[in-house]
């Protein structure tokens, strides 16, 4: 809105003497923005679009990085077919979806709970906020290393103290990283530890931007806090929820360091998500073409997911308004 106003009220701009270049200068309101954006667009094209097109090209051929002497030829859609027919792909897709949904769901509710607690007037709130944010500030690599150590049999704090309790109860050691089911949940736990602070931060910002009039009105009407939460806080928080959940979903979907460092996709293939499967295919088996096809399929899944998210949330937000 304000932009169109600005455009009409803009002062006449002079750009020194008239020269050939001044045709692209600030006085040309049609062309000048493109001049300003050019460096960004060129770089993004070079590092974003070009690799994407190149991926398409590789996926249509038979590149094996470890065997460059094999003649390369066009194979059509063979690589995509190879991916879709690979049971490992479906296994990884399922694991990825379960991981993403479970982790983001838990993070959302914990983060929201924390954000609501921080609405209160508490002593030492600034310091507590910094403490709570520490896991997300750490490099993901470090978070993974820390918990690998914590859960390491015979060395970690968790295995020592929790193991002490379970041994006393006669349950023996808990195989945090060596039992397929438990290892998967351990990874979810670490992801929740690492990224709940992010949800907390995003939702806190969202809560802070909610106007207070609706609450006063509800107070006068005598609405209970549970009803206030569901009828006022949640609908007004929706835009913040949308962004926080989309960002987290996209990131959880491609979780990398955590899994590679803590379990390398194991035991067996219990924690092999798409990203790990992709890394194995491309950088351990050097099957670049199949990996490229897989990465394009992954990208499509992510784009479709965020599109659906935005659609669902938009329609609901409009109804709420």
């Amino acid at each position: 809105m304000s932009i169109s106003e600005n455009t009409t009220t803009a002062a006449p701009i002079t750009f020194g003497e008239r020269s050939f270049l001044s045709g692209f200068g600030p006085s040309n309101r049609k062309v000048f923005p493109w001049v300003l954006m050019a460096p960004t667009l060129i770089i993004l094209f070079a590092i974003g679009i070009f690799p994407f097109l190149y991926s398409l090209y590789i996926a249509g051929h038979n590149f094996i990085l470890s065997k460059p002497y094999i003649p390369r030829f066009f194979v059509g859609l063979y690589q995509y077919q190879a991916v879709v027919q690979d049971p490992e792909f479906w296994h990884a897709l399922r694991k990825t979806l379960i991981f993403t949904v479970e982790a983001v769901f838990i993070q959302f509710w914990l983060g929201l709970g924390l954000a609501l607690l921080f609405q209160r007037q508490l002593r030492g709130i600034a310091l507590m906020r910094v403490f709570i944010l520490i896991p997300m500030i750490l490099p993901p690599l470090v978070a993974a290393l820390i918990w690998r150590y914590m859960f390491y049999p015979g060395a970690g704090l968790v295995t020592y103290y929790v193991g002490g309790i379970t041994r006393a109860l006669g349950l023996g050691e808990i195989p945090f990283l060596s039992n397929p089911t438990i290892a998967f949940q351990t990874l979810v736990f670490v992801d929740v530890w690492e990224w709940t602070p992010f949800m907390f931060l995003m939702l806190s910002a969202g809560l802070a931007s909610i106007p207070r009039q609706p609450y006063e009105a509800a107070e006068i009407d005598g609405a209970g806090s549970w009803r206030v939460f569901w009828t006022i806080t949640m609908p007004l928080l929706r835009p913040a929820i949308l962004i926080a959940v989309i960002i987290r979903t996209m990131d959880a979907f491609r979780t990398y360091e955590l899994i590679v460092i803590m379990t390398r996709g194991g035991p067996g293939n219990a924690t092999t998500t798409l990203n790990v499967f992709l890394t194995k295919t491309g950088l351990e088996f050097f099957d670049a073409s199949k990996a490229a096809a897989l990465s394009l399929i992954m990208m499509m899944i992510i784009v479709v997911m965020s599109f659906v998210f935005i659609r669902v949330f938009r329609s609901k937000t409009e109804v709420a308004e």
Partner: protein, 285 residues
């Protein structure tokens, strides 16, 4: 009425009395979030014997053995400075370049503006591992493998969408009058931008830069596969010394201290900018 005056301080939830259980709960959460990191940091200052003792040693005589191993024997400072160079340069470049793009998106009305803005953002959706292989092949062809320049270009491109996204929101908040009055006084567009817009934007630019710098500092996947000896940055170096058949826990701890020290310092010093920078994206959209 009394209740109403409370809700002015705290809009979303009308606070009841300050309950002791809230403090208890938050104390537990804080402990859970800080303790694992703290323990690993402590381990970094242990000698080999205390670090590998079967029971956790909360009291120990501090030792710099692990740091000596990493710095003197392994020369990790080279990786440290590689990381410093790469994250500073890519932050500087992405903020400088992205700033103009954000300005154009915020200030001008032109055909395709929304498309450009959306397209820039979609560049962030790609999983890094997905573009890794084409980029590996391209870098191999161009000779940018294992070079700082390659990493700087890559990180600049990776951070640009984020920079543009955040700064566009900030630019929209600055009234256009400021620049216009400067230009009416006879300044060129660039002089007005430099003298008026830039100073007003400085806090937002700083917040963005901090955030982007931390992302570059932490980047792992590309750094691991695109560098080997020359340009290896901290994340792959730390990984190399912290994982393996003969793990030394105090070395892992020391490596974690070295890679996290700058970030923790940064965040503690610039806490407010960091938090506002992180949360801006949500509030303005």
């Amino acid at each position: 009425m009394r209740k109403l005056s409370y809700s002015i301080e705290s809009p979303a939830v009308p606070p009841r009395q300050r309950n002791w259980w809230v403090y208890l709960l938050l104390a537990v959460v804080c402990a859970l979030n800080v303790l694992p990191y703290l323990w690993v940091v402590l381990t970094g200052f242990m000698d080999g014997a205390s670090a590998s003792a079967p029971t956790p040693q909360w009291l120990f005589t501090p030792s710099l053995e692990a740091f000596q191993f990493l710095i003197v024997d392994k020369g990790i400072l080279k990786n440290f400075f590689n990381s410093v160079i790469v994250s500073f340069s890519s932050t500087f470049l992405s903020v400088t370049i992205g700033m103009f793009c954000a300005y154009a998106l915020a200030r001008y009305e032109f055909v395709g503006r929304d498309d450009v803005s959306f397209w820039v953002l979609t560049n962030r959706m790609m999983p890094p591992v997905a573009v890794l292989i084409p980029i590996f092949v391209i870098f191999q062809t161009v000779g940018l493998l294992d070079s700082l320049i390659g990493l700087i270009i890559l990180y600049t491109a990776m951070q640009l969408p984020f920079v543009v996204w955040m700064l566009t929101g900030y630019f929209r908040d600055i009234p256009r009058r400021y620049e216009e009055s400067a230009m009416v006084d006879g300044d060129t567009w660039f002089a007005a931008f430099r003298k008026v817009t830039l100073p007003v934007m400085m806090p937002s630019i700083t917040a963005t830069a901090i955030f982007v710098m931390i992302l570059s500092w932490n980047e792992f996947a590309f750094a691991t596969f695109l560098t080997s000896n020359n340009a290896k940055t901290m994340p792959p170096a730390v990984m190399a010394y912290s994982i393996g058949a003969d793990i030394r826990w105090n070395v892992l701890g020391a490596a974690v201290v070295l890679i996290t020290a700058p970030i923790i310092l940064f965040v503690l010093l610039l806490q407010r900018q960091f938090i506002s920078g992180l949360s801006q994206g949500v509030v303005r959209k």
